[in-house]
């Protein structure tokens, strides 16, 4: 009933490859157990994302080339994918749980008449079924979901849940399946503009200094920015601070903001609510500063400093060159 392959959708924005797609290729290879891993890339002629994608070692890359993919609507992309997949019916089809992935995947799901699990935190095979681990109720509850009878088994997976690892040992076949680009008359993308002020994205930062309600002051914002600059990192915030003039939703860490995966995270004046904690699970080293020794954030931390955020920041700035 299916071709036994795991397909991964490669999302592009201009020539930028969405890192989650690469993370999913690595994850798919890890759980494949003999199933071929296939990357599918709808792209404009000039992009040639396959040169980079192949470094992550999928068994095959299917490229759908048309210059109109540079600014294609959700329908145009899902229509093209449908043409390729309806014939081949992959066993499994994975998307990044980005805005775009979460918009295209369900539209394709309806065309393919199959199941889709959104925003998964884990995926693995149990016999022939893909177990999709999905949080609900704001990450307070987890569900295991399967799609027993229809193919492909579709899932979108939360960014930065897995790490992308290059694999030069694999040989990658490149194919160009036949499809037709169907222009959608009723919708068009008038413009695509880079988001101002966030050329760098906090979810990709190697070092993050996170400020919470307990650490908010004009002075601490300045000190945190200085420290971030010294460490080559970025400043992020918990949700209450997105209302402050210095910060916006792009800077927010957590369930309704960004999932981050830095090598070093320093939390200042953050209590550690579940909705915040889910966003920092993948940080390698976590340091937290809080005046309350019982703050829940400490349970999520490798290093705890019970004390004042300003004093800690000042001391850090004194010690770090």
């Amino acid at each position: 009933m299916d071709n036994n392959e795991i397909w991964v959708y490669v999302e592009l924005s201009g020539s930028r490859i969405e890192p989650t797609s690469l993370q999913l290729i690595t994850k798919a290879k890890a759980i494949a157990d003999g199933r071929p891993v296939v990357a599918v890339i709808p792209e404009a002629t000039t992009v040639q994302a396959e040169t980079i994608v192949s470094q992550y070692g999928p068994d095959k890359i299917e490229i759908l080339v048309d210059d109109r993919f540079a600014e294609a609507t959700d329908e145009e992309v899902s229509d093209a994918l449908f043409q390729v997949m309806d014939k081949q019916r992959p066993n499994t089809l994975l998307f990044p749980a980005t805005i775009l992935g979460r918009s295209i995947a369900p539209r394709l799901q309806a065309k393919l008449q199959t199941g889709l699990t959104g925003d998964c935190l884990d995926i693995y095979f149990k016999d022939t079924l893909l177990v999709q681990v999905k949080p609900t109720y704001g990450d307070n509850i987890m569900c295991d979901i399967v799609c027993p009878d229809r193919r492909p088994q579709m899932a979108t997976v939360r960014p930065n849940t897995f790490r992308a690892v290059q694999d030069s040992s694999a040989t990658t076949k490149i194919e160009k399946p036949i499809f037709e680009f169907h222009k959608e008359e009723a919708a068009s993308i008038l413009s695509t503009k880079p988001i101002i002020n966030s050329s760098a994205n906090i979810s990709d930062a190697k070092t993050v200094i996170a400020l919470g309600r307990g650490a908010y002051s004009e002075k601490n914002v300045k000190l945190a920015n200085q420290l971030a600059a010294k460490l080559g990192g970025m400043v992020g915030v918990s949700r209450p601070l997105t209302d402050k003039p210095e910060f916006g939703h792009d800077d927010q860490i957590g369930q309704s903001g960004n999932t981050i995966a830095p090598d070093l995270l320093i939390n200042l004046g953050i209590s550690g609510a579940v909705q915040y904690a889910v966003g920092i699970k993948n940080a390698k080293k976590v340091v937290s500063v809080n005046t309350d020794k019982d703050a829940p954030i400490f349970a999520q931390s490798d290093f705890a400093y019970v004390g004042d955020a300003t004093e800690f920041l000042t001391a850090m700035l004194g010690q770090v060159r």
Partner: protein, 257 residues
């Protein structure tokens, strides 16, 4: 403009817990409210009606208790409400829900715009909007953070992706899902609450809509939930740093290297 707003009733945020013994959701006694993003969708619909005229119809699929939320939406000043309700619809996943809502929208007829929330806060999927759009063969804008009426039948909406913002133009009829950044939903006024009780809430079943029994409820749902549990708390081994800030930082920097 005839605008349909899809609304879902969800448990009041943060009050849902898991029974550690049975691994079942403890939902009893929890009040149902309109999914917060759907209130933004209702607000957007009301503003478009103020600009272009027409009517705002609330649509929900779910048990009879969902009437509470439909009444709340009517009290925000929507014109009428439709509830698709029946035993046979129970256990629907996003595909079956999208199919049922799309059929109801067809039955309402001559709809110019379908507005939905970006996602429901209980299921957290955000799939129903694009599925409805696919079934109806309509253009979609998801996660809209602004909506402006350009002419009688064109809308320009902004959608923010991870690194870019798109301006998307759609010709109606169309489907748009909205973010909370779009607007601030209005409060119910005493006058509107009073009037809401005179407004029609139509209830349809699967037979009224001629639904395909293979595509609704549990039978029409490809996905199955095999288990529900509390998330595992991955604690870390925590080292407490000395109270003197300089000493603390020196020790930290040593251990990090």
């Amino acid at each position: 403009m005839k605008i349909v707003v899809g609304i879902k009733q969800v448990p009041q945020a943060d009050s849902v817990k898991i029974d550690p013994q049975t691994n079942n959701l403890i939902r009893s006694g929890i009040q149902g409210v309109i999914n917060p993003f759907d209130k933004n969708a209702i607000e957007a619909a009301l503003r478009l009606r103020a600009q272009a005229g027409g009517e705002v119809i609330l649509l929900s699929m779910g048990p009879d208790s969902y009437v509470t939320s439909l009444r709340d939406g009517l009290a925000m000043d929507a014109d009428q409400a439709v509830l698709v309700s029946s035993r046979a619809l129970g256990g629907a996943d996003t595909l079956a829900t999208g199919y049922t809502l799309a059929k109801a929208i067809e039955a309402i007829g001559d709809v110019d715009l379908v507005l939905l929330g970006r996602q429901s806060v209980d299921a957290d999927t955000g799939q129903v909007g694009p599925i409805v759009a696919a079934y109806l063969g309509l253009p979609q804008v998801t996660f809209a953070e602004s909506i402006s009426l350009e002419s009688a039948n064109t809308i320009i909406a902004k959608r923010q992706l991870d690194t870019v913002i798109q301006d998307i133009k759609v010709t109606t009829p169309a489907v748009i899902t909205v973010r909370s950044e779009l607007n601030r939903p209005r409060y119910e006024t005493p006058v509107n609450i009073k009037q809401s009780f005179d407004k029609a809430v139509t209830v349809w079943s699967e037979t009224d809509l001629n639904l395909d029994p293979e595509q609704i409820g549990q039978a029409g749902s490809p996905t199955k939930v095999t288990s529900v549990y509390a998330p595992e708390k991955k604690g870390r081994q925590t080292t407490t740093l000395p109270t003197d800030p300089t000493q603390a930082v020196v020790e930290l920097l040593n251990k990090l290297n």
